[in-house]
């Protein structure tokens, strides 16, 4: 497939962003700065505290990526097992759903008891929160192979493993990438929650410390930094998705 011409229409999204900033600035005019700092106050805080922000953002980025990486490996493995075998699916699914229903923020104190405050609970929280969507999506991609297609392959003498590698894996790639985009941003949420509750380093800790000192522009600066990192990671996976599973985006750009 020839890749579609990447002529992004910058107009509408840029207009929305600018309008939002203007609205924010206008709203901030009527509020004290310790309630709602405006965009310019936040930019000022970003510049003023850049060393502290950099130091803590790096910590958050590393814990997020480690937790997310473990979630990708474990989620892929478990998702394949669940999608491959109906028995594993039946055995594990109720537990997985129950596990996913547990509020991850409530687990952090338990993790702290087990591992102390700091990096380890943040990594684990990022892992726990981003793990489930990957499992579900990979399993769905594998479990929804058309029965007729399986018949075609089986009638040729294909083994289950061959059907899995020739059809199952390529077919579940779009599902996998869709889950990566969701999970990557969720992983940041997990890491920041854990840092807020129990850490002395990271953006979550920085925001907690700043708010206790009423440095509200710095709190907002922390939010902006987390959002920016999330957007970058999301975009990276979106690009990867287009490269590896672009066929799933048929219809757009093809007559």
């Amino acid at each position: 497939m020839s890749l579609r011409r990447t002529a992004p229409v910058w107009g509408p999204p840029a207009a929305v962003v600018v309008a939002s900033l203007v609205l924010w600035e206008l709203a901030a005019r009527f509020m004290p700065v310790f309630v709602l700092p405006g965009p310019r106050d936040v930019a000022g805080a970003l510049a003023q505290w850049r060393a502290a922000i950099w130091y803590n953002a790096a910590q958050t980025l590393v814990t997020t990526l480690v937790g997310f990486g473990v979630a990708v490996v474990a989620g892929l493995g478990l998702g394949m097992a669940v999608g491959y075998s109906a028995l594993v699916y039946r055995a594990l699914y109720p537990l997985l759903v129950a596990f996913n229903s547990v509020p991850k923020a409530a687990i952090v104190p338990v993790l702290v008891i087990w591992f102390g405050i700091g990096t380890v609970p943040a990594i684990l929280t990022a892992f726990l929160i981003s793990f489930f969507p990957i499992v579900v999506n990979v399993a769905t991609g594998l479990a929804t192979i058309e029965p007729e297609l399986q018949d075609v392959l089986r009638s040729l003498g294909a083994s289950r493993r061959e059907i899995f590698t020739k059809v199952g894996i390529p077919r579940s790639l779009p599902y996998f990438f869709a889950s990566l985009k969701v999970s990557a941003t969720l992983a940041f949420v997990g890491a920041v929650i854990s840092e807020t509750v129990a850490s002395n380093r990271g953006i979550g800790y920085l925001m907690l410390a700043a708010s206790s000192r009423f440095e509200v522009p710095l709190v907002f600066a922390g939010l902006v930094v987390v959002a920016a990192m999330g957007v970058v990671l999301f975009a990276a996976f979106a690009v990867l998705e287009r490269r590896l599973a672009g066929w799933a985006y048929r219809g757009q750009g093809t007559a």
Binding site: E148, V152, S155, A245, T254
Partner: protein, 304 residues
């Protein structure tokens, strides 16, 4: 085996499957045969076990009773001699059309072990096959860049690329518009006249069955039994004009009457053998094709 033996023998085959805890008998004591190179059509109302019969021929389902023999040996599992195509073309969207056609060669012995080495030769053969069905130059396109009819042509190529002795077709043209369907009848007839594989075509379109087949078997509603066998002695190659000839329509009506016998009064299945219907057999009950429904062009049933 001697040349006098039928190539395909379905010998008193009974087949059921369990559905929501109950065993449903799909095929009941079916016996039929096909010579090597014969074109057989199995027609019947929907849900009469035609597809189940086809799957058992492919070795995907094993009979509960009876036996299926192909080329003298019992079918006990999938073999390489079979090619299959369905109503839905189910091509892999991440593979180009050519690679979709080549898929069986990556799986079937003995090609699979030397597929990489011989890929160029196989690809050339696939291109030729694609050209035969009117897909010249479409090999580099993705399936979703093809029309429904083109996808079904590619699906036929995929079923034939490994030179199967037995081609199993499950309503392959059912989802196409009438004009495309008739064009593909001619394509299939050309392929068959050239390569003379044995064909089992499952269809509920009696015109299609009469046009393509040497022999038409009619199955009753579930549990599927063979209620009639009709030879179609029309000369080959047949043209679409032939379908309006009196001999063709006579055959069509003869077979159509047998479909009527597959129906049971009140819609309650009985164990009684199928009855012969008189000429005034009532018009099809719910679920059966309307007698005229098969004659004229039908709107497309929606393409994937």
């Amino acid at each position: 085996m001697t040349s006098a033996d039928p190539f395909v023998v379905v010998d008193h085959v009974t087949l059921g499957y369990s559905h929501q805890g109950r065993v449903v008998r799909a095929v009941d004591d079916v016996t039929l045969t096909a010579r090597r190179g014969e074109f057989v059509a199995v027609a019947g109302p929907s849900g009469c076990g035609k597809t189940t019969l086809l799957k058992s021929l492919a070795g995907l389902l094993l009979p509960d009773r009876g036996e299926i023999r192909v080329a003298g040996s019992p079918v006990v599992g999938p073999t390489r001699r079979v090619g299959m195509a369905f109503q839905n073309p189910i091509l892999l969207p991440w593979r180009r059309t050519l690679d979709n056609v080549l898929l069986p060669l990556e799986i079937v012995a003995p090609h699979r072990s030397r597929f990489r080495r011989e890929r160029a030769a196989h690809a050339a053969r696939a291109q030729t096959l694609l050209a035969t069905v009117g897909l010249d130059g479409c090999g580099d396109r993705y399936p979703w860049q093809l029309s429904g009819g083109q996808q079904q042509r590619a699906s036929l190529c995929r079923a034939l690329i490994h030179d199967p002795d037995l081609l199993l077709l499950d309503e392959p043209f059912g989802a196409l518009d009438a004009f495309t369907r008739e064009e593909l009848w001619l394509v299939l007839q050309d392929l068959w006249l050239r390569q003379r594989f044995t064909v089992f075509l499952v269809t509920h379109d009696l015109r299609e069955a009469v046009f393509l087949a040497d022999t038409v078997y009619v199955m009753s509603a579930r549990p599927g039994r063979i209620v009639a066998r009709t030879d179609v002695p029309l000369p080959r190659p047949r043209t679409l004009e032939d379908t309006f000839a009196p001999t063709f329509t006579d055959l069509y009506h003869t077979i159509r009457r047998h479909i009527g016998t597959g129906r049971t009064p009140g819609g309650v299945p009985t164990e009684a053998p199928a009855r012969r219907a008189d000429d005034a057999a009532p018009v099809a009950a719910a679920g059966l094709p309307h007698p005229r429904g098969d004659v004229g062009p039908r709107p497309s049933e929606g393409q994937p």
